[in-house]
């Protein structure tokens, strides 16, 4: 299954396979709002807010970068989640 990602920060859309992370979909398309990162849930560079859609977290995220409260609000590391539907996301900004 391939889902459509609406990337509000990059102002574009790209496909994501259900078996790949949102980060990998961004890198593979070359169009995502995140261009690099550790892909291991450790560095926090790929922090995003998911505003619409279903997803599954398949790896642990460093709590140095995403708190439990943030995770409940849909704030995640793109390398640690896979899409379960079409997704709308934006790069996380602290302000």
């Amino acid at each position: 299954m391939v889902y459509e990602i609406t990337d509000l920060t990059a102002e574009t859309k790209y496909p994501a396979k259900e078996e790949e992370s949102l980060f990998r979909a961004m890198i593979r398309s070359g169009k995502g709002c995140i261009r690099y990162g550790c892909e291991g849930g450790g560095c926090g560079v790929c922090k995003i807010r998911i505003t619409e859609g279903e997803y599954e977290r398949f790896k642990n995220m460093s709590r140095a970068h995403v708190s439990e409260d943030e995770e409940k609000e849909g704030i995640v590391l793109a390398c640690c989640v896979k899409p379960k539907s079409d997704i709308t996301l934006a790069k996380f900004k602290t302000t």
Binding site: Y36, C38, E39, G40, G42, C43, K59
Partner: protein, 306 residues
């Protein structure tokens, strides 16, 4: 006899958010052997070519990153002298209380950069060691990237000029290369206690206690190519390389393990001698110094730490 009072960085403990995936990566991709587990679930590993009980410990934690690095010193007398000298330098010293099977007494302290550094003299020999009589290059066929040893690490933190002074004045290391900012402040320094081009390096950084990478030694440029093939095949997240450093002249690839700690596989590098003149990099040329073939810096390399 080592050139300085330290023989090598012999032990590193890292925090990982995804323990099982990280252990599998060190074992199957890097090619380390799992030595065992501590009673609190940390996993001990070593390379096929190391003699000591273990060299890498992975601790499952909510955040990835650096717990400590421990330097093996030449003997017990030196260890006690270094404890005194470390306290005289201004860092309070404790005796490490966490279990490291096979290891003797470890003294530890917090460096100005926020990192815990430990010193030890005694460690038991591992069960699986390289051959000693009529030795083959290896006993069991090496796996994966065929990492030969834990080689060095690069730490990021504040006030590296003081850290450099500690490693030189107390541990007796020397700095074959350095890089200053235009106003003459240390930006980066590479330090060694022997003939390796570096045992430890520091980059000036506002946030304390962060690690840029830890490195494993590979045999040669062919082994770097083999490592690159494994990165492609197993979809490992690559950072930079294969390429060459002008600094230390080593050949290299950087990538991340499954908990996001950056790893370098490193081969070659010059032999460092304490009586050789020191080499200097100006910051406007540091891109070429780090990545000689590309001649430029990469934002991921500068900005990502754990």
């Amino acid at each position: 006899m080592a050139i300085s009072k330290t023989i090598r960085p012999g032990l590193i403990q890292l925090r990982v958010v995804n323990l099982e995936e990280s252990v599998a990566f060190y074992r199957d991709i890097l090619g380390l052997d799992v030595v065992g587990q501590t009673s609190d679930g940390r996993v001990m590993l070593k390379t096929y070519d190391e003699f000591d009980h273990h060299s890498v410990v992975l601790r499952h934690a909510p955040e990835s990153g650096f717990d400590y690095v421990a330097f093996k010193v030449v003997d017990d007398k030196t260890l006690e002298e270094l404890k005194e000298a470390t306290e005289a330098f201004g860092y309070p010293v404790d005796v490490a209380s966490d279990e490291q099977p096979g290891y003797g007494k470890r003294y530890g302290f917090t460096l100005c950069t926020g990192h815990r550094i430990e010193l030890y003299a005694e460690v038991a020999q591992a069960e699986k060691i390289p051959m000693l009589v009529n030795p083959d290059p290896w006993v069991e066929m090496p796996r994966g990237m065929k990492a030969q040893r834990f080689d060095h690490l690069l730490l990021y933190g504040p006030n590296i000029a003081e850290a450099e002074r500690y490693f030189k004045e107390v541990l007796g290391m020397f700095a074959p290369e350095f890089c200053n900012t235009p106003d003459g402040k240390r930006f980066a320094v590479w330090l060694t206690g022997g003939n390796k081009a570096h045992d430890i390096a520091f980059v000036e950084y506002e946030r304390p206690n962060t690690i840029h990478h830890h490195a494993f030694y590979l045999e040669d440029w062919n082994a770097i190519g083999n490592a690159a093939d494994l990165i492609g095949k197993y979809r490992v997240k690559r950072d930079v390389g294969p390429t060459r450093h002008a600094i230390t002249r080593g050949q290299t690839i950087y990538f991340w393990e499954p908990s996001g700690n950056r790893i370098e596989t490193y081969a070659g590098g010059y032999a460092a001698y304490p009586d050789n003149p020191q080499r200097e990099w100006t910051i406007d040329e540091i891109g070429r110094g780090l990545f000689y073939y590309e001649g430029e810096l990469f934002p991921s390399f500068l900005e990502i730490v754990t």
